[in-house]
Subunit: 253 residues, 2 copies
Amino acid sequence: MPVLAGINSKVLKNGDSEPSPPPAGIYRIYNMRFCPWAQRALIYASVKNVPSEVINIHLKEKPDWYFSKHYKGQVPALELDEGKKHVIESAHIPEYLDDLFPESRILPSDPYEKVQQKLLLERLAAVAPAFYAAAQAANNPEGRDEKYAALVKAFEDAEKLLTGDFFSGKAKPGFADYLIFPNYQRVFWLSHILPNSPFSSESFPGPNFPKLAKWYRTLDSIPEVAAASQPTEMGVGFFNDYLKGTPNYDYGL
Amino acid sequence: MPVLAGINSKVLKNGDSEPSPPPAGIYRIYNMRFCPWAQRALIYASVKNVPSEVINIHLKEKPDWYFSKHYKGQVPALELDEGKKHVIESAHIPEYLDDLFPESRILPSDPYEKVQQKLLLERLAAVAPAFYAAAQAANNPEGRDEKYAALVKAFEDAEKLLTGDFFSGKAKPGFADYLIFPNYQRVFWLSHILPNSPFSSESFPGPNFPKLAKWYRTLDSIPEVAAASQPTEMGVGFFNDYLKGTPNYDYGL
């Protein structure tokens, strides 16, 4: 059974015809190769070994038919049951996959531990808006210091929240680890580009964040996570264009 | 066993001492009587008959100790296990209560039906920011038409999404119904105050929304929902002050 088949296929865009529904038993993920939210679904499918295929979508020239998969036209969307069912939103798709495939469950079964993982993820997700603000500052020095400071603050908060090796609180990564990793990976890519980056691209995020640095290295080296990630040079290249306002969703293909 | 004991107690504020932990088996909800998000937890506890007590918090003069219950100091927060456990966030507390008390489960057990209820709630929640924008327009005519139009649009979208009697898709109300009701109740209160309100306070929301009107009447008349709600005159009175910038969290007590 394939897992994440077609992850590096070119995007479908307005004018392209709608692909036929996924075959029975195959879970299709609508994706954009550099989208951190869609990557959450990819990582989960990869770690859980879900039979899956990926279709990439042009986010500036969306096909009309895509709005029948996601009413807002965003990624990710999960399509199953030969096209008859859809699940959207980056935090809901993983939980749904856990409910559907409990034998490879990543979220805890205990209600209290489960809800704490979801709440921790939401708390850690403060890194995302801080990242986008800092990214905008790359080409615009105005307010750059404040934006960098806000991003550093998000990292400091995460460093404090990381009390063991993983945000799961266990000996192996869990829901919060896998789902927040893509956001950190975006900052890692950005650290190659940002003028006076507050983070080290060599020993990311740098010596002030020893726990996060070890965590990032560990997550990054998990084969199932790597299989759901773009290589660093692709990510850096994409963001170079993105910051100029000309993202190339097929960068490197 | 009491349910929602103390729902009309006066707020605790900065300087007030921390209450002793809830007794074993009692679920404490930190609340503000007019907060639609906290009311989600109250309705769920009421419908599920969870042994519970309510402590109201002054949202402009928060007690320092409250930040140990909710790191942002917001309501709702659920406190249990004699003060040793906390669950926050208005959509997570209800799901947690369903996991904890599965015999009175409101969310569907089927994974697909469950995630669709959660996604539908998020879609319906577009009414909330539109409500706050329209409320600000009460005392400021600038941009009022656009703000009213956005709120009407949220109602039109909901009217379309309500394909049966309830957002649950079943013969009785479910997760999405109970959790979105407080937001509609706020618009109902506001319709008594708004100059040129686009909604009728007599047959709320009005003749253009026949399905929502029936839905609202039905939800409003459920005793367990009423027990978790403030009476109309209280809500209207609170919002009158709120719109002047001087909310009285103990209004009517």
